[in-house]
């Protein structure tokens, strides 16, 4: 890539940093240059977030409809999956899946629920009282 072709597209990086890129200068030698961003990447990232937000919204609806427990919703909200949530809480995947059921969730002890609350960075009350 030539130095003059380096994209400078504004995006989520703008208030954070510019990124280093290796580009060819006029003499055909490599040097580093700073880029604000590239729309091709920005669109990929935006698209990933549309998908994530869709999953979160679906999970919220599932809680409202009584199909899933708040554990499921907050897992999606925190971009987690079962193995990851299992890593943060110490519960086996099999149990995490069970805790998605509203009927099972209702019977969980505060001790177990606080593990989930800690993994999600929320309070115990927020987890218990989430209605969708």
């Amino acid at each position: 890539m030539k130095k003059e072709d380096l994209p400078q597209d504004p995006g989520a990086l703008d208030n954070f940093t510019r990124e280093v890129c290796y580009v060819k200068n006029k003499d055909g030698k490599y040097e580093t240059a700073l880029s604000r961003g590239w729309d091709v990447k920005k669109d990929a990232l935006d698209n990933a977030w549309v998908e994530v937000n869709g999953r979160i919204e679906e999970a919220r609806q599932a809680v409202i409809n009584g199909e899933k427990s708040p554990v499921y919703y907050f897992m999606e909200l925190r971009l987690m999956d079962i193995p990851l949530l299992s890593g943060y809480t110490g519960f086996l995947g099999f149990f995490v899946k069970r805790h998605f059921k509203p009927s099972v969730f209702k019977g969980l002890s505060d001790r177990k629920l606080s593990k989930y609350a800690a993994a999600f960075d929320i309070t115990l009350d927020e987890l218990k009282n989430f209605k969708g």
Binding site: M1, Y30, V40, K41, A44, E51, P83, L84, G87
Partner: protein, 343 residues
């Protein structure tokens, strides 16, 4: 304030990729002023390609354009006769105690961290990715002073937040992983030359001779074959997300990306000077070409996830481009292999 400590004269280095940056900055801090990001990347045989079978990351294909996390630091140091200390911990408390001890000894250290809880990162970039690398170079009251190589300037984190990112869970969980050069001896030009040659040879091996069809240059064709099927198998929406993931792994910060083909081309340019061998300049051009082709294919992929390209022919076109990239990279590594460097 007895615990206040800052390592004087630590110079922040901004780089395209975090592990290169930590390696470069720590080696320079230890007196190896010649170290550059391309050199660290090349001596560490950083260029790679793999699509890990049966694994998905953030609901997409698990693809990497670079070698295993930790390998660049380890290999580059070893080539230069630098002894390395690397430690993981059973508990956040012991991890913090050790870190505090190193800061009191005025030793800046590399830390592997997860990105999700990295509070200074923009929210948009915070996915569960655990192979990010930063340098801790000091402590001010209860906050740690950090040098994140992907950033233009230094930053900081509270003790609590640092502990959280050092003990992120999931794939590549860091477990408090800390690493730094422990003993740096005299590095001669001859050692640098040998390190460069070794780095190139190992990279040739990794890209051309790794067994299986999903890694090395053949891995690129493996992904191409998948892409041909994605439209029918996954539907256009999910196929777009998968392609977006490839683009992000290729170029994005916080995911391990960083335009590695250009970086390798820059390495070969520097290698040509060290080895006084102009043949390497020609091969550097091949990697520049490959880097340009990866970017051109990314633009095509963007056409799909932007909803502009929807036909199977577009997927075939993208796949064909990847097959072509494979041949360019394969040929370039074959040329490197035939150079008989250092003989």
């Amino acid at each position: 304030m007895p615990y206040d400590s800052q390592i004087e004269e630590f110079h922040h280095v901004q780089t395209a990729h975090c592990e290169n940056g930590v390696t470069t900055a720590l080696l320079r801090h230890n007196g190896l002023d010649f170290m550059t990001e391309p050199l660290a990347f090349g001596m560490g045989s950083g260029l790679f390609y793999i699509q890990i079978p049966f694994l998905t990351v953030n609901n997409g294909p698990a693809i990497s354009f670079r070698t295993m996390p930790g390998a660049i630091f380890k290999r580059t140091c070893k080539s230069l006769g630098v002894e390395v200390k690397s430690k993981r911990f059973g508990s956040p408390e012991s991890a913090q105690d050790f870190l505090d001890k190193k800061i009191r000894e005025h030793v800046p250290v590399g830390c592997q961290v997860g990105v999700f809880h990295l509070t200074y990162f923009p929210k948009e970039y915070r996915f569960h990715f655990n192979a990010h690398n930063i340098i801790v170079y000091g402590k001010e009251e209860s906050r740690y002073l950090l040098s994140d190589p992907t950033m233009e300037d230094v930053t900081f984190l509270s003790a609590e937040d640092l502990s959280k990112v050092r003990f992120a869970k999931g794939t590549f969980a860091p477990k408090g992983h800390i690493y730094y050069p422990e003993k740096v001896g005299v590095v001669t030009d001859d050692m640098i030359r040998k390190g460069i040659v070794k780095g190139i040879r190992r990279n040739v091996r990794d890209m051309l001779h790794i067994p299986g069809s999903f890694a090395g240059v053949d891995g690129i064709r493996h992904t191409a074959n998948h892409i041909r099927k994605w439209r029918d198998k996954l539907g256009i929406k999910k196929a777009g997300l998968y392609l977006g993931q490839i683009v992000r792994m290729q170029e994005e910060i916080g995911t391990g990306g960083g335009g590695f083909r250009f970086l390798y081309a820059a390495f070969l340019e520097q290698a040509a000077t060290y080895l006084q061998d102009d043949r390497l300049i020609g091969i550097s051009e091949d990697f520049t070409k490959s880097g340009d082709m990866w970017r051109a294919s990314a633009i095509k992929m963007a056409g799909v996830y932007k909803g502009r390209l929807t036909e199977q022919s577009s997927f075939e076109d993208i796949a064909d481009r990847l097959v072509e990239i494979r041949s360019v990279e394969k040929e370039a590594f074959q040329k490197l292999s035939k150079l008989n460097l250092g003989k």
